[in-house]
């Protein structure tokens, strides 16, 4: 055993974690990453031999929901090791220093660790009013993001606001809010962990992946790791058998709802949402939204506040049996599907809403499309 290994094991023990607990954690991580059991040793080695990676956690137009998610990191005691193994040099919600001293800590990390730290971003970045919709220490979110993400080894956008703009970017996007990828184009090694909030299990898995392989995971078209966003919720849902059998909840609290039938008719967006929610679940595997009886609202997908609403309107044209194959194919179909749902539940309000969109190009496009359809509809009437 090398000195550093011995040091690491002592370190573990001082934190109340036995070697066995630690290896158990590494096996669990290996399983979460769909790796063979033998990978556990490699993961353990990866964690031990690396210096504490430095994290800078930025909060912009956020609600601190991803920070709270971070504080729920599960995998008892061992997750604490992984998080202790990181050095969180800046994080407004938990750091002791405030004001100038907080900003000094940030400036020092950006300067001294340039190119070597990981930036985590929570919240969207407003582009309206010259950035005055969100300032910290007198600087705009955009100015800070350009500097901090610009010098980072990698940027992890945590939550749907940081990835796709999220709630602030919902129509009419009053502040011109954007996700990091759009606000700071060309940022190095951008990893998007969407969902509202992002599940901390996926952040932990991402970090361990990096420590193990010294590279970042394979990503989908939206820069999301395939190990967490590779399959539709519908395809892994514990209620899928009821969908296939045509057994649906029809009213809240009815026999079907109490029995755990499919929530498709109540508006579930699981068929068009890609995330490992049903697999990893939440709060140490205690439950997940569909498990508690509420439909999926599609929170991991781009523009979900506009595309997935009304939340309780059911999707149209969901394919029958079988597994949905690719995100691109389903993504395209979903837009059409949800568009049809909109049609069934009243175009007028959406047309009005989108006409107000001023900032976001995507919102402008959608506004134009909705307007065209509304006009067609009017034109088609006698």
């Amino acid at each position: 055993m090398s000195d550093s290994d011995r040091w690491f094991l002592q370190e573990l023990e001082s934190r109340g974690v036995s070697r066995r607990d630690f290896m158990g954690f590494c096996s669990a991580m290996a399983a979460a990453l769909a790796l063979p059991r033998s990978a556990a040793a490699a993961i353990a080695a990866g964690i031990q031999k690396t210096d504490k990676p430095v994290i800078v956690w930025l909060e912009f137009q956020d609600c601190a929901g991803n920070t709270e998610s971070f504080l729920r990191a599960s995998r008892p005691t061992a997750a604490q090791i992984v998080l202790d193994t990181l050095s969180v040099d800046y994080h407004e919600t938990i750091m002791a220093a405030a004001g100038h001293q907080a900003e000094e800590a940030l400036a020092r990390t950006v300067k001294e660790k340039a190119g070597g730290y990981i930036a985590v971003v929570e919240g969207s970045i407003p582009t309206g009013a010259n950035g005055a919709y969100c300032t910290i220490g007198g600087r705009s979110a955009l100015q800070i993001a350009r500097e901090v993400c610009g010098s980072a080894a990698a940027t992890i956008a945590m939550g749907t606001c940081a990835t796709f703009g999220g709630l602030p970017a919902a129509a009419p996007n009053p502040t011109g809010a954007l996700g990091v990828g759009d606000a700071v184009p060309g940022v190095k090694n951008l990893i998007n962990l969407s969902a509202c909030p992002a599940n901390v299990e996926n952040l932990t898995a991402l970090v361990v992946y990096f420590l193990t392989y010294k590279r970042w995971p394979e990503l989908d078209a939206w820069h999301r790791p395939l190990f967490a966003y590779g399959k539709a919720i519908h395809d892994n849902c514990e209620r899928r058998a009821h969908f296939d059998a045509g057994q649906y909840v029809e009213a809240w609290g009815d026999e079907a709802h109490r029995t755990g039938y499919c929530l498709y008719k109540m508006g579930c967006k699981g068929p068009v949402t890609f995330q490992n929610c049903p697999n990893v679940r939440w709060n140490e595997g205690t439950n997940w939204p569909i498990g508690c009886g509420h439909p999926c609202i599609g929170c991991a997908e781009p523009d979900f506040w506009d595309k997935m609403t009304p939340f309780y309107a059911h999707l149209q044209n969901v394919p029958g049996f079988g597994v949905t194959s690719s995100v691109d194919k389903v993504g395209l179909w979903a837009t059409v599907g949800v568009g049809a749902a909109f049609a069934a539940h009243g175009f007028v309000s959406l047309g009005k809403r989108w006409r107000n969109a001023e900032h976001h190009p995507a919102a402008r496009e959608k506004a134009a499309e909705a307007q065209r359809r509304e006009d067609d509809k009017k034109g088609g009437q006698p």
């Binding site: 709270e68 040099d89 919600t93 750091m95 005055a132 705009s140 009053p174 909030p197 755990g260 309780y312």
Partner: protein, 514 residues
């Protein structure tokens, strides 16, 4: 006169900036500025009111239940939906869990670093720390070996040279008054509370699928089915799980949080002379105990003016106004107007300095928060207000707990109107709710034996008749907020919402002062 700026104010949710004029060691003038705007009010316009709760919920991910429930009650009141008893009990459990978990996080992880010097804990004697811990509580994790292990953990962390979130702080400052042993004990409990909060919040996962941003809410009730004979419903298994978690919550609050609070407070009694605040207290009331239209509330609503606990006035929502004289918004009728939230306007118009900037134009507009007033007065909201209104209304358990705390600290009732009083009130409320929760769980267990209703299905469809303007207020664990919902003029089968929000906590100035 020195002008100082504190930005960011850390260990809070949101973005807050303080500017102040300091003269001879005293603050002469101060301005509090919210430096972030999203426009949730504007985003909600024209949407299905049944969706609104999910939008408002995202106003805050720390108090992840309160904005959702305020929205839901506003819509329910507008459409006349009546949630059944099971929904009331599920919501009480959810709101109380939020309050208990978040107050403990507030004390240990947000606030404690202002009182507890982590670096000083390195010089503590673990044996004397054990004596201290055992003298204030029978909590079992209190041996010299345990505290030595915690100290080693901190030592290892410091020696490794990467202080992370504890870097560049104020360690060693003379304002820290705790002896090294008390600091070590508090650090141990900081770490224990971090584990504890993650456990206790599983009640939210059971009832809402996940935390943060639990998803089990519905206008008209809850989406969480109840049925003792079903696997996919709240049944005796889930009730047993929650019972264990509630016991764990209560145990930690009674045997760690409250003794720590009293121990720490006894070294900071001079803080009974700081932080007097505005002296007016406002509470909307919470925890309905029955299903009447005007239910009895476990924590009553009310208004106290000028610290006069002998007079608790009835709360009247009509007396709330919002001002934008010093906020970055325009009112169509001029910025000197005062608008009731039901006719409120949100038209952002930034007139401050272009970032990056050193100073705000504090003589003019300087914040993204509007300034709310009650009957023209600034009000304090939060745990202190709730405990004072309950005390003034004769709530027996609150009177008992407040009396005990004052006696143990050896201070008079005037000490309540201070920073010390605010910290104490938060602890008292936590204990009060941690004790009360099991009763609601018992009521739920009994009720689902014969009543499986969770939702008012009659009012779910947009074609249900009967929409009226309404307002519903929801007390909130660190502020108070109300939400208004206005029926649209459009088609009767597609209700629209306009919505406003009034947050008293961080509001700024009017012409009549902060």
């Amino acid at each position: 006169m020195t002008h100082i700026v504190v930005d960011p104010v850390t260990r809070i949710e949101g973005h807050l900036r303080i500017e102040a004029e300091v003269d001879g060691g005293s603050v002469r003038e101060a301005w509090s500025s919210s430096t972030m705007f999203r426009g949730v009010e504007l985003i909600l316009k024209g949407r299905d009111p049944r969706d609104a709760w999910a939008f408002t919920q995202r106003i805050c991910g720390v108090c992840t239940t309160v904005h959702a429930i305020a929205s839901i009650r506003a819509v329910e009141n507008a459409i006349g939906a009546v949630p059944p008893p099971n929904a009331r009990l599920l919501r009480n459990l959810i709101i109380a869990t939020q309050c208990v978990q978040d107050h403990v996080v507030h004390f240990y992880h947000l606030h404690a670093l202002d009182w507890v010097d982590i670096v000083s804990a390195l010089t503590a004697d673990p044996a004397r720390t054990a004596v201290l811990a055992q003298s204030i509580s029978d909590w079992p994790l209190s041996s010299p070996t345990y505290f030595a292990a915690v100290q080693n953990k901190v030592k290892g962390f410091v020696e490794r040279g990467q202080l992370g979130p504890f870097a560049n702080a104020y360690w060693g400052h003379s304002a820290y008054k705790l002896p090294a042993e008390a600091n070590l004990m508090a650090v141990a409990h900081y770490l224990e509370a971090l584990e504890w909060q993650r456990e206790v919040i599983k009640i939210h996962a059971v009832l809402g699928g996940k935390n943060p941003h639990l998803q089990g809410f519905l206008v008209g009730g809850m989406a969480t089915p109840v049925d003792p004979d079903k696997q996919a419903s709240i049944n005796m298994g889930s009730i047993a799980l929650m019972r264990g978690l509630i016991a764990k919550a209560r145990d930690f609050v009674a045997r760690v949080y409250i003794p720590d609070l009293l121990a720490v407070a006894s070294f900071y009694k001079d803080w009974a002379g700081y932080g007097g605040g505005v002296g007016n207290y406002l509470v909307y009331g919470e925890y309905p105990l029955d299903d009447a239209k005007q239910p009895e509330l476990f924590l009553p609503s009310g208004v106290i003016r000028n610290k006069d606990l002998s007079r608790v006035e009835a709360f009247d929502p009509e007396k709330i106004t919002e001002h934008v004289k010093h906020s970055w918004y325009d009112y169509a009728g001029g910025d000197d107007q005062t608008l009731h939230p039901s006719s409120g306007e949100t038209k952002p118009h930034y007139t401050g300095p272009e970032p990056p900037f050193e100073r705000l134009h504090t003589e003019g507009k300087y914040s993204w928060l509007k300034s709310p007033r009650y009957d023209g007065l600034p009000m304090e909201v939060g745990p202190l207000s709730r405990m004072l209104v309950a005390y003034g209304s004769g709530h027996p358990r609150v009177k008992e707990l407040v009396g005990t705390v004052l006696q143990k600290l050896g201070v008079g009732p005037e000490a309540l109107f201070s920073t010390l009083g605010r910290v104490a009130a938060r602890g008292i409320e936590t204990l009060l709710l941690a004790e009360r929760m099991e009763g609601w769980l018992d009521d739920l267990a009994a009720n689902i034996g014969h009543d499986l209703r969770i939702h008012d299905n009659d009012k779910w469809s947009p074609s249900s008749p009967g929409v009226k303007p309404s307002e519903y207020c929801h007390r909130y664990e660190d502020s108070s907020l109300s939400q208004q919902i206005l029926p649209g003029q459009a088609k009767p089968d597609h209700r629209k919402t306009g919505r406003g929000r009034t947050a008293f906590r961080d509001g700024g100035r009017t012409d009549r002062g902060a």
